[in-house]
């Protein structure tokens, strides 16, 4: 995405109303499939909810537990990990590594007592713009139901500093 695109995207994003809480979701997307899938969703002008930030990585196999845990630690309400479908990985077996890493992450998240529904793994190909929008909408609604994440600064009684 070029800086102009980012600017226009920000411009069309509705301003957060002060009263209503909107989720803060981190999406990890691989360069070859999921990120391109998000791009396809944008190019085909499919509407979806905007309350997420995409972090692009070269391969979903790179998404270590540390990434997800740090996101939660810093106050994310939900984390979506996405990559290529099995057999489609640009690096042959990267997404198989991603599954291993994801399972490890899930175990840690469970031990820590963060709700299961805040973490999700999805395979989205570059052609599946509609699927990307669907997953985002579904996940955002799910997080909305769960409410602010345990480490979110917007949780009631939080003393994380910022309002």
């Amino acid at each position: 995405m070029t800086s102009e695109q980012v600017k226009t995207k920000d411009a069309v994003t509705p301003r957060k109303s002060k009263r209503r809480w909107t989720p803060n979701i981190i999406v990890f997307a691989c360069n070859w499939c999921s990120y391109a899938g998000a791009d396809t969703a944008g190019v085909t002008r499919i509407e979806h909810q905007p309350h997420f930030r995409i972090i692009r990585v070269m391969c979903s196999g790179r998404i270590q537990p540390a990434f997800v845990l740090k996101a939660f630690e810093r106050g994310a309400d939900g984390v979506l990990v996405s990559g290529c479908h099995f057999g489609d990985c640009h690096y042959i077996f990267g997404n198989e590594r991603a599954v291993e890493q994801f399972e490890r992450t899930q175990r840690m998240v469970k031990l820590l007592g963060i709700e299961d529904g805040r973490l999700r793994l999805e395979w989205i190909s570059a052609a599946e713009g509609a699927r990307f929008a669907e997953v985002i909408n579904e996940f955002t609604d799910q997080i909305r139901d769960l409410g602010p994440g345990p480490f979110s600064s917007r949780r009631a009684g939080s003393n994380n500093g910022k309002p």
Partner: protein, 380 residues
């Protein structure tokens, strides 16, 4: 007085007379790393903050206290490193090969905004309570280590379960609390004093409010933290804090062992926290002496001279750590032992990781067990 001078005073760095015994003894420097404890001490004395931070060696240090134990001027080098890390602390500066996942986990526990699911490992054959008991058993973070290092085949929870069944054998149903949090050892030694503070206050209050008179700990690092680093946090007289091996020694009449156990040779890895930090060398050895059929073969470097597992505080892991681990495992193999016994889950993690090397498989592969597991196997 500026902070560096003060740190120098607190840790006796000023007493250094530049003999270099610390660097000669340092396992990391011996493995060939560009690291020198002596240089660090001198930089502190000369007030060279830049030199302390720039050579990156603060994170490399294992804080295993091998240098402390050989210093003729009694410079407390490990304490110096801990204080310097605190002084130069930046949250984003994570030297850990796990990308800071474990630090994040510990900090989330420190923030304490969730209810942990940390009791799933309890099996039917062990008895615990959450109300009142004479003994509080401190599990440490073994369930997290097993979950995170699953692919290495780390089973540190076996040691935790075994320790509880030893307590059960003594007729004790210990308190195991679901609201226990990480002891904060790694955060403290990584320089994050703020999070450590939160954890220490929570944990001390938890144990104090349980009214237990004895706190039994299996993990060497938790034990060090409880005995030394938590001392200022107690508001009343602290409970008696014992390592599981000290507990067994104090009450060994209550255990009945099999008449003749399988004869086998084991060797013992002194965890740096249990050995040089707390000077508990004999208790685990005398527990091994109680077990029928088990013969202890000491490694070439044992007791005060034991080499650490090269990864004590999640701040470093590189080829030098690997070299130290491989060297240690070869030493263990050379004793002819079939099992390497240790008292620290982190020794298990790091030594198991080193064993993954396919080229060295036969040379270094050895079974690793917690001391408590061995005791339970020998019970009648």
């Amino acid at each position: 007085m500026d902070r560096l001078t003060q740190i120098g005073k607190e840790t006796r760095a000023w007493a250094c007379y530049d003999c270099g015994k610390c660097t000669a003894n340092c396992p990391i420097a011996r493995a060939g790393a560009p690291f020198s404890p002596r240089r660090q001490v001198l930089s502190t004395n000369l007030d060279h903050r830049e030199a302390i931070e720039s050579n990156g060696s603060l994170g490399i240090c294992l804080t295993c206290m091998k240098c402390d134990s050989s210093c003729p001027a009694s410079v407390e080098y490990s304490k110096l490193v801990q204080k310097l890390r605190e002084y130069t602390y930046r949250e984003d500066n994570v030297g850990c090969p796990h990308g800071g996942a474990l630090q994040s986990t510990m900090r989330m526990m420190a923030a304490g905004k969730t209810v942990q699911n940390r009791m799933d490992w309890i099996t039917d054959d062990i008895r615990i309570t959450s109300d009142e008991s004479e003994v509080f058993y401190w599990t440490g973070c073994t369930m997290y280590l097993d979950a995170f290092f699953d692919e290495l085949g780390v089973h540190s929870l076996n040691g935790t379960r075994a320790a509880i069944s030893i307590l059960n054998q003594h007729g004790i149903t210990p308190i195991v609390s679901p609201s226990e949090r990480c002891c904060g050892h790694d955060l403290l030694w990584g320089g994050d004093r703020k999070s450590f503070d939160l954890l220490a206050k929570h944990n001390v209050e938890l144990v104090e409010s349980s009214k237990a008179s004895i706190l039994v700990v299996s993990c060497a690092e938790c034990l060090r933290t409880w005995k030394i680093d938590y001392a200022p946090y107690f508001s009343q007289r602290p409970p008696e804090i014992l390592h599981i091996s000290e507990f067994i020694n104090a009450r060994n009449n209550d255990l009945s062992f099999k008449e003749n156990g399988d004869a086998r040779i084991v060797t013992y890895q002194d965890p740096c926290r249990l050995g040089r930090h707390l000077e508990i060398y004999d208790a685990p050895r005398s527990v091994l002496g109680l077990l029928p059929g088990i013969e202890l073969a000491e490694m070439h470097q044992s007791g005060k001279r034991a080499v650490c597992c090269a990864g004590s505080t999640w701040t470093n892991c590189d080829r030098y750590s690997k070299a130290i681990q491989v060297g240690r495992l070869k030493e263990a193999k050379a004793t002819g032992a079939s099992t390497l016994v240790t008292c620290c889950p982190k020794c298990q993690v790091h030594l198991k990781c080193a064993m993954n090397d396919p080229n060295l498989k036969e040379d270094i592969e050895i079974e690793i067990k917690d001391l408590a597991e061995l005791v339970v196997e020998a019970l009648d």
